[in-house]
Amino acid sequence: MIIIVSVLIIIMLAAAVAACIFKDLLSATIASCMVSLIAAVLFFFLQAPDVAMAEASIGAALVTAVFVIAIRRTRRYEE
């Protein structure tokens, strides 16, 4: 169990670092979406199903959608 959690956390942190590094904002957004998604799984492991649900639907779906729309209306690459 703890091994799975550790692996998930490592992937999550890697995704966060990727979000930091990517110059393409769309990729960064997807990376941050991944962070949210794994966080939702972790919430579930921490016996917080309500929060996991909220995080999955909001953090992973809505926030990403909002970011994508905003990037579409501005510009895609960080200069």
Partner: protein, 119 residues
């Protein structure tokens, strides 16, 4: 192994917080800063939930018989984080709307290039 047992979640939460802060401090792109903010927020939420966890606890729901109140995890941070997430998305939407306005007005999202916003 006991380190992982004790500190895996905390490491994840503070890793997210520090990465979020780092993005906010060093990046110049407005949308990148907002991405940092959202990562920071996820980290804070994860930390709060991790604080409320009890070893071997159950979710705070009396969904079937045999669940006792003693073994439940702390419901207070969960209630807090629940609303925090929802408000978070509204605030992010607001910030991104401002980003769209900024881009329309100045044609750039690089904060260093936006001179009018400073003294």
């Amino acid at each position: 192994m006991s380190f992982l047992q004790n500190y895996a979640y905390y490491t994840g939460a503070f890793g997210l917080i520090l990465i979020g802060l780092f993005i906010m401090m060093t990046k110049r792109n407005y949308i990148k800063i907002i991405i940092g903010l959202s990562i920071l927020e996820t980290g804070v939420n994860l930390f709060l939930i991790a604080v409320g966890y009890i070893s071997g606890g159950t979710a705070p729901i009396f969904s079937r018989s045999g669940i006792t109140a003693e073994k439940m995890v702390d419901p207070v941070p969960q209630a807090l984080v629940l609303t925090a997430i929802v408000i978070g998305v509204a605030v992010l939407g607001m910030a991104l709307a401002l980003a769209i306005r900024l881009h329309k007005h100045f044609g750039t999202l690089n904060l260093l290039e936006i001179r009018e916003q400073r003294w």
